[in-house]
């Protein structure tokens, strides 16, 4: 059974007050809170077996290496990878995408090639492709998106020619909340021989993601959005693709043998992990993944559908509100962006802050889609496993108060 009240007990930060009010944390799309077990696991590493991994011939280093590699296995199983060798630790989803852009992109793209993405991408899945396009002469095309988060797939179909080498799309928009029909897009991308990169920064934390069932080629996500620590991200990719890719960064740990005239690369996944990795963080994410698996990702998704449905219903009654993204909670995750009349989102967020409610205001690292809708910024509320319906009630009261105070 999914019991939010019990789950909340596991998150020490949620016991805290802000401005003398209970903390109502509605910004998990930006970063999630951490359960005690994750904090404890990292603490335990530092208190009891802190040592560098992979080369130590002494007990605590061997223990650290085993814990680090064990975390990789848990994370691989969590997304149903074929092998732990396909799981590469990075700093965050952004670095995972950059790894693909610079390693795979610079090697495989040339003038005339096409990369397809969408107008609603996070800058992390947009700027790297623009950079690689500028260096290789490839072209980036953006599938149009409307206010309900629907992609113009007819346009996508028209662009499908053999010059398309990569399709890179988010699995859940951090602005519109929408879950695009990626299965269909992946099948079409493969039909013309393109590879498919899935930006799972929002989906992996919030719903079951199975890389074998999806048949994607690359998946990028961040630890800090899925109950784990900051400073760690994951790139998953098919082993044959990773084997053919050159290293992204070079140095220690990623080589097998170095002479002054050259070197041979280490085996996967270490070929892509130059330097001392984020050991405590990987161990922490391993425990976060255990925690999520115990809740069950289907239950996590179900809770989010219920919360999102309730939020959309309550919020749509607020006077002057305009909500972006789909209205059917089955089609979206729990990131809800909105505007409130003419009131600037910074003012909305500041008044809510005074009520103890943490929401995000701005362009959410997705300027192009805000530009398209003619918006300088939006306010965004988002939910995770620890959020209760009564927190949405507080949000609605806070928005009414904002309107009273600042509505003209």
């Amino acid at each position: 059974m999914f019991n939010t009240t019990e789950i909340r007990q596991d998150f020490p930060i949620l016991r805290q007050q802000t401005h003398g009010k209970p903390l109502t944390y509605l910004d998990s799309t930006a970063s999630s809170q951490k359960p005690q077990c994750v904090i404890d696991a990292m603490n335990d590493f530092y208190c009891h077996y802190n040592a560098n991994v992979h080369r130590g011939i002494y007990q605590i280093s061997e223990q650290a290496s085993a814990a680090y590699e064990n975390a990789r296995k848990k994370i691989g199983r969590f997304i149903n990878a074929h092998s732990w060798r396909e799981v590469i630790f990075t700093r965050n989803a952004t670095e995972s995408i950059n790894l693909v852009a610079y390693s795979w992109g610079l090697t495989n793209l040339k003038a005339g090639d096409v990369i397809i993405t969408t107008e609603m991408e996070h800058h992390a899945n947009l700027v790297p492709w623009q950079q690689v396009a500028a260096r290789t002469g490839a072209q980036v095309k953006y599938i149009p998106v409307n206010e309900q988060g629907q992609l113009d797939l007819a346009m996508f179909d028209q662009w499908l020619t053999p010059s398309v080498k990569l399709v890179a799309i988010t699995h859940m928009s951090n602005v519109l909340g929408v879950i695009p029909p990626v299965e269909e897009i992946i099948t079409k991308a493969h039909s013309i021989g393109a590879l498919f990169l899935l930006d799972g920064a929002q989906s992996v934390p919030h719903m079951p993601v199975d890389v074998q069932a999806l048949a994607c080629d690359f998946l990028a996500f961040s630890s800090h959005k899925m109950l784990g620590p900051t400073g760690l991200g994951v790139l998953w990719a098919r082993q044959d693709i990773l084997t053919a890719m050159p290293p992204f960064m070079t140095g220690g740990d990623m080589i097998k043998q170095v002479t002054l005239s050259g070197c041979t690369w280490n085996d996967l996944p270490w070929k892509f992990e130059a330097g001392t990795p984020a050991i405590a963080e990987a161990i922490g994410l391993g425990v976060a993944v255990d925690y999520l698996s115990k809740l069950g990702m289907t239950n996590v998704r179900q809770h989010e559908i219920e919360m999102t449905g309730y939020a959309l219903e309550r919020l749509s009654q607020v006077e002057g509100i305009h909500i972006y993204g789909p209205f059917d909670p089955q089609l979206r995750g729990g990131a809800i962006s909105f505007t409130l009349g003419d009131i600037h989102p910074h003012d909305v967020a500041a008044v809510l802050d005074g009520e103890g409610i943490a929401v995000r205001a701005g362009h959410h690292c997705a300027m192009p889609i805000h530009d398209k809708f003619g918006l300088p910024a939006t306010t965004r509320a988002s939910f995770y496993v620890y959020n209760l319906p009564e927190e949405i009630d507080r949000l609605v009261i806070g928005l009414d108060k904002t309107r009273e105070l600042l509505g003209k």
């Binding site: 989102p345 910074h346 003012d347 008044v351 802050d353 205001a361 105070l405």
Partner: protein, 134 residues
């Protein structure tokens, strides 16, 4: 928070002074705050005696940026350009009368930045240099 949106700020936000545009400005300048999408334009009319005899501001932004722009127009109207040049960041913050965090500071000071860049051709780099010592 009720502190943050104090009566003086709300008053300037709801009833901005010198809102609009001048028909014949001698100086006009627009600045953006790309992070929050605020846009502010200040028009000045400076007479032969180097006195700012008319001012107007227009644009979009949050309550803090709008209120600070409105307050700034009151501060400079009737002043000589030399007097206006003396107005600093502290004066704006004092007029607002609230504690402002680093993010909202950019909103609070957008009007002053617009004035300084428009009136004396201060560059972005000059303005930021000022920021370092802030």
């Amino acid at each position: 928070m009720d502190d943050f949106y104090r009566e003086n700020i709300l008053d300037h936000y709801r009833h901005p002074r010198h809102a609009g545009k001048l028909a014949n400005p001698t100086h006009s300048h627009e600045e953006h705050n790309p992070l929050c999408g605020d846009v502010l334009r200040i028009d000045l009319h400076i007479n032969e005696g180097q006195v700012i005899d008319d001012v107007a501001f227009s644009g979009k932004g949050c309550a803090i940026s709008q209120a600070s722009a409105s307050m700034l127009t009151e501060m400079i109207i009737g002043k000589t350009t030399d007097q206006a040049k003396q107005i600093g960041k502290e004066d704006i913050l004092e007029a607002l009368g609230i504690e402002i965090g680093p993010v909202r500071l950019k909103c609070a000071l957008l009007s002053l930045k617009t004035l300084k860049m428009g009136l004396y051709g201060l560059s972005e780099a000059d303005w930021q240099k000022d920021d370092e010592t802030w």
